[in-house]
């Protein structure tokens, strides 16, 4: 985090940034703050403290649908059921039968988990979160032993995971459609209601956004949740104007200059090498105007964050922002991404529109990276720590797989380094990056800690395959995982499991001691 960012962002967020930064740097601090975060979750999570939300919590927590928490127990319950199906059982569906989803499946999932609900409620408000986590954990393990062959499991999970074609609070079923959860009208209405407030309730938005943001509301939601836009709508236009102007002024000061010192020249060279190979599988980014935007953003970010400078892979991290902020101009309320970015000709946009999106992308990148700058400083201590924690976590969850990997001499750092460095963006199709981003952005200051759980859930998708492989096979497999056919459902399964595990392990931090 650069000192000038501190100066410009003003008091609160500066302090926040400092604490985030410190958290990353000091081990004792990390542990302490993690605890704080877990307390925070306990307070903020649906079942943690809100009276009467016990059942929803059981399923809802497990399935990671925190989003519905504030909307009442009945709805919460319904959501929870649906998602438990997606979260726990959905894992079976990965890589197979993605189109199996049926209403019957969704119904099955809901019915099964409905049994869990009432008993969970009986545990009362206080034990809600913990009971939820434990039950979820148990059900996961049970699933593991059974091999997960429940009827409708694979198909139902898909629908359940999206949470739409399930019983609504009033008992009517949503029509079976192929629409994504983020597209549902009721969800959209909830977002709009929050966004229409004079002062947006960021915590409520966070909870809702965690499970995916409707495409057309993504830009504003990301910007609010990252703290780029203020919650007060009256101040938004002025701030946006000021930040965009600030960025515009930086360009001539830092970028459009003839003489550079050797270090800056090296930085520019590095950026220039990486820009043409940024998301090369997405033609959108190959457009000359986008390439220029990328170059400016990355170079400026590096220059203004001298503790790390530009590091390869940060070029990947800016792509969701550029795509979403520019996408606003191409998608007229429809699905921006993953609906496809074909025909998005940046040349057809006004220069001002491109510059505005570029500036927004720059500032949002700053905000996203503020919390993880130690991923990119010398020797990348943040990544090393995350990988260490991941190893410990995976050992706790799936000891046999971990033992097998260790016996084969496979070092976690070898294959997870890129995962952490690029926040998993390289491991999934680009269209899913924005969905990952929804959750990361919603996690806010806890994103770094949550990432460990996401990575564990991602890795363990392949646990059965890995156990049958030797060292070489594992390395080659993990370098290029078969995620090409993944959709939102698979990503959401990973996120749900991550949420569930965090809920479990946050109660027992000593399992993951940093040593």
């Amino acid at each position: 985090m650069s000192s000038e960012d501190l100066a410009k962002d003003g008091g609160d967020s500066s302090l926040n940034s400092v604490s985030k930064f410190l958290r990353g740097c000091k081990l004792p601090g990390t542990v302490r703050l993690t605890r704080t975060a877990s307390e925070h979750i306990a307070r903020a999570s649906p079942g943690g403290s809100s009276p009467g939300s016990g059942p929803g919590c059981v399923a809802g927590e497990a399935g990671a649908r925190r989003g519905e928490a504030s909307t009442g127990a009945g709805e919460l319950q319904a959501d929870g059921r649906g998602l438990t199906g997606g979260g726990v059982r959905g894992s079976e569906g990965i890589g197979e039968g993605r189109t199996l989803a049926t209403r019957r499946g969704g119904g099955t999932a809901a019915a099964t988990n409905g049994d869990v609900g009432p008993s969970g409620r009986a545990t009362g408000e206080d034990g809600g979160a913990r009971a939820g986590a434990d039950l979820a954990h148990l059900s996961l393990h049970a699933r593991g032993r059974d091999g997960g062959g429940e009827d409708g499991g694979a198909g139902g999970s898909g629908r359940g995971g999206r949470g739409e074609p399930r019983a609504s609070p009033r008992g009517e079923a949503h029509p079976e459609t192929s629409s994504l959860r983020s597209m549902s009208d009721t969800r959209k209405a909830k977002f709009r209601k929050l966004l229409d407030e004079q002062v947006v309730d960021l915590e409520a938005l966070r909870e809702l956004a965690w499970s995916g943001i409707p495409a057309e509301l993504r830009p504003v939601c990301w910007q609010l949740l990252l703290g780029y836009l203020p919650p007060n709508c009256e101040r938004r236009a002025a701030i946006l104007e000021r930040k965009r102007r600030e960025y515009r002024d930086m360009v001539p000061d830092y970028y459009d200059i003839a003489d550079r010192c050797a270090d800056d020249l090296g930085a520019l060279r590095q950026v220039a090498v990486d820009v043409p190979r940024t998301a090369p599988d997405v033609p959108f980014f190959a457009q000359p105007a986008i390439q220029k935007s990328l170059e400016r953003i990355l170079y400026l970010w590096g220059i203004r964050h001298p503790a790390s400078g530009y590091v390869q892979g940060i070029n990947d991290l800016v792509t969701p922002f550029l795509a979403v902020f520019l996408g606003e101009h191409f998608s007229e309320g429809g699905p921006a991404i993953p609906g496809g970015m074909d025909g998005w000709e940046v040349a057809t946009l006004s220069e001002a529109a491109v510059h505005a999106a570029e500036a927004d992308a720059y500032w949002c990148l700053c905000k996203l990276l503020d919390g993880i700058q130690d991923h990119y400083t010398h020797a990348q201590p943040g990544i090393q720590r995350t990988v260490f924690r991941l190893h410990e976590l995976v050992r706790r969850i799936e000891e046999p797989v971990t033992q097998h990997m260790e016996a084969e001499g496979l070092d976690f750092l070898q294959f997870t380094f890129r995962w952490v460095n690029c926040l998993l963006l390289r491991e999934v199709p680009f269209a899913l990056a924005v969905r990952l981003w929804d959750t990361y952005v919603a996690e806010g200051g806890r994103m770094k800690e949550f990432l460990t759980y996401v990575l564990a859930a991602f890795l363990l998708c392949w646990a059965p395959q890995l156990r049958a492989m030797d060292f070489q096979e594992m390395v080659l497999f993990l370098q290029k995982l078969p995620t090409g056919g993944w959709g939102e459902r698979e990503v959401e399964t990973v996120l749900s499991r991550a949420y569930m595990w965090r809920t479990s392990f946050d109660q027992a931090q000593s399992h993951l001691s940093q040593s």
């Binding site: 190979r277 090369p280 990119y376 070489q472």
Partner: protein, 220 residues
Amino acid sequence: MSRGLSHHKPDDDYDYLFKVVLIGDSGVGKSNLLSRFTRNEFCLESKSTIGVEFATRSIQVDGKTIKAQIWDTAGQERYRAITSAYYRGAVGALLVYDITKQVTFENVERWLKELRDHADSNIVIMLVGNKSDLRHLRSVPTDDAQAFCEKEGLSFIETSALESTNVEMAFQKILTEIYHIVSKKALAAEDSAPRPGEGTKIVVTEPTSETEKKSSCCGN
């Protein structure tokens, strides 16, 4: 120096396993040299390597099957702390620069220092001038690189991963060189301390059928 391991698995038979690292500035084409050698693939706009990536291929040298385990590393300086850990145990290094970018050649000295600091002292190093297809953009004369290599005692070759020129040759050459050193050492060790019952260094019968099998499965 780690040596070739004699290791036998029915589907993966080899006489020696050599670990080789690919190093050099970012964007010089390390990953494409690797994919050309191991999979006969080239991708003009491949993503940057983050951390390390790995691939293998077996070749025949003097009737022996040599399995090369090649570690491709990220080029950016920031990654050195991570990537240099992979130098340990490497018996060979391909130090790659881009013949169209003078600065990548100038940085070769820094890379040599990296190897001196982190790799085994007797690692075999080959300097590789890549992108030789971009003749019109050349900024590093072959003679300069050649002279530098003579001074430093390195082998040298110019390649084009895009046109598939000399890629096979580069790997063949460095692996052969490593093989000769390793086998000479083994012989020397044997001469100084002969042990009864272990004197069968020259095996001529066994590998002949394998030679054909291997060369067909190596792609290209």
